[in-house]
Each structure stands twice: as C-alpha cells, then as structure tokens.
C-alpha cells in the first residue's frame, strides 16, 4: 500500500497537517506589546476576507463517533461522550408504543426474527449493502441523532459543525445516507470526517501506531504512520462472532441445567451480550498444551497464575436468566466464560491453513499487517499497538493479544516466507551460516572497526545494522543536545512488542476538535446538498500542502471555503 517513497511524502504532508490548525499562539501575544486591533468598518476586498470572517472558524463542534452498534456524541474538550446510544429493537418502535416499559415485556425473551442474522436488529448498518435497506438506516440514524440532540446535547439554535469519526472504509451509499441526515435534519454547516484509527492514535498520544479495532462485525488492524493509514487488514473475528460463541456456550450450559422435557433454550442476543460485557474474560496467556514450543519466560508472574493454579473448588459464576422459561440461575464454571473469546478471536484449535482470508485469528492478522509494513514503519508500529473497540474492554484480552503476537514474532521473526518447502534445509543452513559469520564478524569488528569499513574488496561486507557504531564526539554532543531539546528517547522506542492504551476514537476526535485542527475531509453543507458525494474531487491530497504554500499571507481564503473538497481515505 505504501512504498517507501509514498510513505515519506505522506509523512511530510501529515506533519504540516498536524501543525496547520493552531490557535492563536500565546507567544505571539507576548511578542507584541499591545495587540493590534482592526479598525472597525474598514472596507476590505473580498480577497482579504472580512475582518469578521474568522468568527466562522470559532464555530463550535459536535463530536460524533459512528459505530455499527453505537453512536457516541458529545462536545470537544470533554473526555467522555455525553451519550452513547445503542441501536436496538426498542429504538425501532413506533411512537406511542411503550411496551418496553411493560414489566411483562421485560420478562419475556425476544426471539430472533426469521431470516435475520445474529444481532442484526442491534446494528445500524453493515458493510454489505446488498440486503441493507438504506432508508431504514436513515430512519434509525435520524431518530437516534434526534434523541442525542434533544435529550443530551440541548443545544441552542446556533448551527454546529460536526466532527464525525468513521471507520476508514465505508460504502459511499452508506456514508451519503449518514451525511444527508446530519446535513438536512440537524442543519450542520459542515462535517469533518476523520478516520477512527487515526483518532485512536491521537487518543493514545501517538503519531504512529498499529490500531487494532475489535469492533462488532469485524476487526480491523490498521497501521498508522504519522497520522496516515498505511496498511490495513481485517477479519470477521470480532464482537459478533464472540457473542454468537457465547450464546452457544450458554445454550449448552442451560440445556444441561434444565429438565429433559423443557423446551430447548435459545439465549437471546441481549442475554449473551450482557454476559459478555459483565463476566466475559479472556485468558491472558495462551494454553501451554498447544504446539507452542515458543513461549518465552517473559510474562509477569501474575499471568502464570491462571494457567497453573488449579483451584479447588473450581470457581464458578452464577448467572441469572430471568427471561428463561422457567427463570433459572445458571451456575457456570468461571473458566468456561473465557472459552468464547478464545475460540472466536484466536481459534487455537484450527490450523492456520484452514482459515479463509477474512477469518484469520487476531494475532495472525496483526502479524501479517506488521509484516506487510515497510521495515521502518513496522519498527514504530510494533511497539505502539493500540487495541480499541468494544470487545477490547474484555479483561485479559489485550494482554493475550500482545502475548500471542510476541510469541509469533519470536517464533517466526520477520520473514515473509513461511515455508521454504524443499529448500528449507538449505535455507536453515544459510541462516545458520549467516548468523555464525555475523557473530564472527562482530567479534572481529569489536577489535578493528575502521578496517572492516575500508576493506571494500571483502566479499560480503557486514550489514550496516550489525556494525558497531563509531563513537563520534560530535555525535555524543548532538545526542546530548537532542536529549535536552529534542524529543525524549521514549518517543523513538521501537522494535519490541508493546501495547499502548488509547482513550479511544471519540476522545481522540474530541481532542482534535478542541485543538481546532482541520481535517482533510471537510464537507460543506451547500456543496453536499447540491452534488452529494459526487461533488468530491478525485484527488486525495488536495487540501493541505499546496494550498497553504500557494496562499501567501494575503490571500484570505479561509479553510472553510475550500474550492473543492475531497473524500480522502474514503474516496
């Protein structure tokens, strides 16, 4: 996806993006003894923009994050959204239908509708639009947003811009449905789209990260380098599969518990979901009886405990099922509750070659994405793994993913070739030889550094990465300077597997809006209503660098009045 060259260009572009939208700086104020004032009512040419023009940029924002099961909304500068609204069947009822508050209704189990997928009623959209009624999506989204605006935002009449965090891949039809609702029903003057992996990166305080978003329908693994998505991988092993797995587990457990004559229990989506969010967990350490000859002794002693100590009596959890007929309290071994996450997300019992491309286990997917990244980007990303998404709140899951990945890397290294087939013996021999010669050279190099450099006639010069660096006084001085002035050394940590916690995409969006950073994709209301998404220019990179450089100080074309707009990553 990103060649080395392209990566560089993007880096520079994003650098300037990050610095573009800054507030008036305090030090400027300090530099001028008395701040200059604009004379009132001075006639200005339109080229220079009216003095009041900047009031537009003072516009306030509403920050929305749109997932497939929840929408989060709030205001910039707040650490948590004002509301998190689910999309469920209760949100789809007619006005005046109050049955969800009927105590009897609360005691009955919802049945899945015919022909509907697991949890389909609880998702706003799916990426596969073939049997998705966009009109219905529009209705539901509109109603939910209306609730958010009238119950939680309580805004005055002033139109608010909207900062919308979206997954980086979204069908255009779906996007335009959402945008239309926001533009027409909520009178937003403009909508800025930002992609959620980038925002998760912002929310973690990073510039590059590997964002693992374990969402509802799928898990996306996005390599973000300097606020740009550079690589992406996805798998369907995510919340939906997990909750199906959990329902299966609960069904079998209930079946054992109930009498023989009782009707076959079928746990509803709500019940399975509640069990997952309340007591679901994940073993932080892979099982040792697998064909994992690799597990290093690097994990902390806390993690060992789950594996080794066989507790007697076996701990168990009592889960009430008031909606079951008859109501029942299910006692289930605690260890069982970790199984669904295990099978749904990691699938340890299946050989790797049996997976389809869209159902790789998480750690393999992460590994593949990392492998596909350019080496320097990989170095940064692998030690900035940000795991977000609804499922990631499951205790133990993050540690497990990191442990599995670490193990995978230890086992395989970064060799894209998994099997050398008949040449494997030769390959190994080569590797060994190389390693040995490197060892040898390193020993030698310790003695005489300069000589190895001079000897240009040597057949295989030592690779640069293995050479002992020359100690240069100037370098030392510079590095000292760098420590004093430059970024602290932790900023360049790389090469090891490390997880970083993020505040999530919504908080990232809130930060971005608070700092008044303009996004690449900014859609004006008038233009959208006139042309729809077709009005976007085809170029992906129109907005940032050329515009800023060509303008010069005088040309007051505000960023709000871009001549054309682009869909950026969504194009």
């Amino acid at each position: 996806m990103a060649s080395g060259l392209g990566g560089e260009r993007k880096v520079s572009a994003s650098l300037s993006r990050s610095v573009r939208g800054t507030t008036p700086r305090l030090q400027d104020l300090a530099a001028t003894p008395e701040s200059p004032r604009t004379p009132l009512l001075r006639s200005t040419s339109s080229l220079f923009g009216s003095p009041g023009g900047s009031f537009r940029t003072e516009d306030e924002y509403v920050v929305l994050e749109l997932g497939s099961r929840f929408v989060r909304g709030g205001f910039p500068g707040e650490s948590a959204p004002r509301c998190t609204l689910p999309f469920g069947p209760d949100e789809q009822r007619r006005v005046g239908d109050y049955r969800q508050w009927d105590p009897e209704h609360g005691q009955t189990r919802r049945k899945r509708k015919r022909g509907q997928d697991w949890g389909q009623e609880y998702e706003l959209y799916r990426m596969d639009l073939t049997d998705l009624d966009l009109g219905l999506v529009e209705d539901r989204f509109e109603r939910t947003m209306r609730e958010a605006y009238s119950k939680y935002f309580l805004l005055d009449q002033k139109p608010r811009r909207i900062l919308l965090a979206l997954p980086p891949r979204m069908p255009h039809a779906l996007m335009s449905t959402m945008l239309e609702v926001l533009f027409s029903s909520f009178q937003a003057p403009s909508i800025t789209l930002l992609s959620s992996p980038v925002l998760s990166t912002v929310g973690a305080g990073l510039r590059s990260a590997l964002v693992v978003d374990i969402g509802w329908a799928e898990t996306t693994v996005t390599g973000v380098c300097e606020y740009r998505e550079v690589q992406e991988g996805r798998t369907i092993r995510a919340g939906k599969m997990l909750s199906e797995e959990m329902a299966r587990l609960l069904n079998t457990a209930l079946e054992d518990e109930l009498d023989v004559g009782a009707p076959k229990p079928e746990v509803s989506f709500e019940e399975a979901d509640e069990v997952i969010t309340r007591v679901g967990w994940c073993k932080s350490k892979p099982k040792s009886n697998r064909n994992t000859l690799y597990f290093p002794a690097r994990t902390s002693p806390i993690l060992e405990e789950f594996e080794d100590a066989v507790e007697s009596p076996e701990p168990s959890i009592t889960i009430p099922f008031p909606k079951n007929d008859p109501p029942i309290d299910l006692v289930i071994p605690f260890a069982q509750l970790a199984k669904p996450a295990e099978t749904a997300l990691f699938a340890p019992d299946t050989a790797l070659n049996e997976f389809d491309d869209n159902e790789l286990p998480l750690h393999h997917l992460i590994y593949r994405v990392l492998l596909a990244l350019p080496m320097d980007v990989r170095r940064f990303c692998m030690s900035r793994i940000v795991i977000t998404g609804g499922v990631s709140n499951m205790p133990g899951l993050k540690a497990r993913i990191l442990a599995e990945l670490d193990a995978l890397v230890q086992q395989r290294g970064w060799d894209p070739v998994r099997s050398y087939g008949s040449a494997s013996a030769r390959h190994e021999a080569l590797l060994r030889q190389k390693r040995e010669s490197e060892e040898l050279r390193r020993e030698e190099a310790g003695d005489k550094v300069s000589e190895s450099l001079d000897s240009d006639n040597s057949p295989a010069p030592l690779s640069a990465g293995l050479q002992e660096t020359e100690i240069d006084q100037i370098d030392i001085k510079l590095s000292h300077l760098a420590i004093r002035n430059g970024p602290p050394p932790t900023c360049s940590v790389g090469g090891t597997i490390r997880g970083v916690d993020s505040l999530g995409a919504w908080a990232g969006a809130s930060l971005v809006a608070q700092l008044r950073i303009k996004g690449i994709v900014e859609i004006e209301r008038e233009k959208f209503l006139q042309y729809g998404l077709q009005g976007a220019s085809r170029e992906k990179e129109i907005s940032v660098v050329p515009q800023r450089q060509s303008m010069g100080p005088g040309v007051g074309r505000g960023a709000g009045e871009r001549a054309s707009w682009t869909l950026g990553v969504w194009a």
Binding site: T38, V95, K111, R207, A399, K518
Partner: protein, 571 residues
Amino acid sequence: MAQPYPYTYYSCDCYDAKTTAGAAKRASAQLQAEDEDERTFDPRNPRSNFSLYPLEHLLYCEDCQQIRCPRCVIEEVLNWFCPSCLFEVPSSLVKSDGNRCTRNCYNCPICTSPMTVSSLDDPTNPSESGGPWILACPYCHWSTAETGIEFEKHTGITQQLSKVANGGKPIPTPKEREKERERRKELENRKSRDILSGSEDSPTQDQRRGDASPNLDDIYLNLAAFYKTQLVAQAPSNLFSPHDINFSSPSSYSRIMNLYSSTTSKKQRQKKAAPMREAALELEGLMIHDPSSDAAAIERIKKEGWGSTLSPAQKRAQPNPNIRFDTELRPVASLLMTKRGKRCRSCRHILSKPESKITSTRYKIKLLALQHIPRLSLRALTPTPPPGAPAATPFDYNALRSGIPAHFILHVSNPIFDPIRVTLATSSTTPGKVASRVTILCPQFEVGANTDVWDDALSSSLTPVKRASMLGPDGMPQIEAGKIWDRGRNWTSVVIEVVPGFLKDPLKKEDEELGEDEDVLEIPVFVRLEFESDVSAEDRGLGDSLGKKGERERREEAFWTVIGVGKIAPM
C-alpha cells in the same frame, strides 16, 4: 402493542417527500421511486415504524397544509430546566456546566429513580450540622455510602461530589491538576537533564505505581495539555495558517513584522520548527498497556461474581461508561430538559411554542393535527342485547377468531368547519404474513362540518339514520353495503368487514413460528378528503390574481392511516 386495541396511527409521508432526497439517493432509490405513488402502505415494513404516529403526536402546518411529524419540524430550545427541581438553567450555565442539573438532583445509578439526601446522623448522639449526609435511593436502597461517599452538607451536593472520588479520596480541581502536572514535568525535565543519557521511564513507572491508576479525565487533560504545548511549539508555520488571516489576529501583526524585519530573524524562526513529537510520558498522556489492572479485574469477577458487575444500560448512564464494577458507580445527575418551540421544516412557520415559564404547561401557539385531520377510530360492532337481557361480554380485541368474519364500525369525525367528503381505500387483504380480508362497506361518504353544537340542534338537515327498524333476525342490525352506518353532526361511521387470517397456513406443513407482532391485525387505510374552504388570508395575499375575497377554494388532503384492530387468537 402497548397501545390498547383498537388504535389508529397516522402516517407522515415526510420521508419520501423530502426535498433533499434527490441528492444522496439519486442512484439507489431511482428504481423504487417510480412506483412510489402506486405502492400501498405496508405497516409491516420496518420503515413504517418511523413514519407512523398517533394523531396526538402530530402537528399541522397551515401554510403547507400538511401534517408535520417530529421528523419534519425544526426544534429550537426556548429554555432549559431540571425536571426534578424545576429550576430554570440559563443557557450560559448549560454551556459551561453541561447538560445536567447542578443542584441536588441525582438519579440512582442502579435503578434510575431519583435519589434523596438523607442524614447518617446518629439520633442518640446528634452532631450539630445534622450530617454526615448521603444520597440514597428510596426504591432500591442503593446509597453513596456503598461507594464510600459522604457529604458534609445537605446542599450543594454537586460541588461536594465533584471533589470526592469513590472511596472518599479527594479529587483535585483542574487547577490543582494543572499545577501538579507542571510540577511533575519540571521534575522530569530536571531528571532527564541530570542523567542526559539512557533516561528510562522507570521513575514515571514508579510514580504510577504509587498513585492509583489515573482516570480517564486525567489522561485526557494530560493529552490535551501535551498537544497544546506541541502545537504552540510549531511557531513559524502558524504565521501562514489559513485561519488566522484576519486583521484583528495578533499573528497577522507578527507576520507583517516578520516580512519587514531582517532576514536573519526569519531564518532563526524557521529553524525552530521541529516536527511534533508523540507523547513520551504519562504526564503527556501516554499510557503503556499494563496487564495488571486486567488481571485484577478478572480476579474480582471470579471472586465477586455477577452481582458486582454492571449491566450495559447502567454503564451507559454513567458519566464514564468504561467502568465495570459497582464500586465505581457514581450517582447520575439528572439530565436537564428543554422547552422547545417547533417550526415547520419547509416554511419555517412556528407550529408550537410553549409558554416560557417552566411550571406552565400551556402553549402560546399550538397547531395540532387533531384540529385539522379527521379522527378515525374503530370499534367492534356488537349486537345490542335486547332490553332486559344481561349485557353481552365485551368484545375481546386480543382474540380475533381466524376465518370468522367480524364487523367493525369505523368512526370518522371531522374537526374542521367545512363539510368534508371522505374516500377510504384499502387493499383487500392486509399485507404481512397473516393475510386477512378487509372490506370497507361504504368507502365514500360525507362528514358534516364541525359547526357550533347549537347549529346541530337548530338545523334539521341531517336526519339520523333510522336504525331500530332495520334490525336483522339475529338481533344484529342489518348491514347494507354502500350505505353509511350512522351519522351525527360532525361524524359519520361506516362498517368494515374483516375476516382475520390464519396464523398458520394450513397448506404448509412446516411449523414456522410467528415473529413479534405478526399476529396483530393491522389495516392500512388510505384516506382522501375533499372539501371547500375559505381561502386563507395569506394565500390571498400571495396570489391576488387567483381569487377574490370571500372566494372558496377546493382542497384535498390525502394520507395513510393504519388501524390496529386486534390480535388474532391462535387456533
């Protein structure tokens, strides 16, 4: 349905009459749009849940002469108030303090009922203030004592609560946090200067172990502060930032100064531009993933079980939705409510405007659909028992019998001051899985004007239909096709014959279960009204050429209604 049978829903057709519909769905909806007008309304379609409203929920725009549902009005907030203490909150406070009451109004985080401030005072040994106080739920008996929060005073709970964390530890104010951050940063800087090289982040790690793990707010504030300082550090690029081009902005002044100052200073400034770095310390918002908290959570679930965890709804209601255990619960301040005026979306006329006084429930302007749209209501036609006989059992709408024709009286009452001509239409079988046959015996009739009650008494133009003479042999009144059933001053009733369908298709062997509400018999009825009315004053003003004063114009109205008859009983 939580609505008792029979009920009538009115459909607002705003979703397919939307003005902007063309822009987004040009491609996708073109195919459907063509037969849009021909289509019969299907109450089973999931989309119709969003366009059906009870008549009481609808407004009517007199200028557009159309029904206005909550979706096609624009709301504007008139004032804000707390529904629990009925205090009005000024808009500036809403902006600064958020959308929640800042007095003593709190809801229980467990069961959402309003909490009361109660005293923990020992009656045998009363303290002088009467305290300490707690917030307690009178319904489920949860109280803040369970999370270790007690108050010194019984007023100003919000301020006291904002200063104390769960467990009784004080929360530093934002200012204190800022100071603390500065102090620690200073410390950090000094340390790194001292060590100069290889400054591992161990000191921060130690500190973190010492403190409780920072909460979401802290991390967010740290991040925000970090980004702010980073952006401020980007000095020169800001000079040409597109937002600041404004005479009043100080940066434009310094920009001009820069242009005329010597080139050396310019160079100096440009040299300063270092790329923004990522957060390196916890102080800057970087959170390295730490498995110990997850492990602790797992342990806790294992020990305390289901009861200590929170349900999804409880979590969503919390200010911080990422919590897991009941000890982390905070009382939820009650959400403010608003009084909102409503305007028509297309012509912006005010449709409803409540009085601004909070305690008043009256409206200044209120244009209800009730006053403009005839009300349709249905009831079963039961044989009038002969005098003296015991009253027949009331008709059971919840158990309609399949295959047996039943008669219902459809009552149409006219709220407007002109007589109307009504045409009803329905498809002969109801849509949905259970097809029932429906016949409106008299689909075309007139309904008298809603004149003064006295006019009715004085005039004798309407002769009531003589019903007694037409009793059939079984005591049932004779029903004649093509004739109205009964008529009054401003109402007319007709008979509908319904043959409820079979829940299970006898021809099909497979035993498919019915979904929710599929056994409900709902009849979509298309209502078309024709009447002559005075040309309204505004229309006359607009089009003087069209009509003279006092002229009457012919008007039409058409809309879909859905009449819920009842539930079909299983055989």
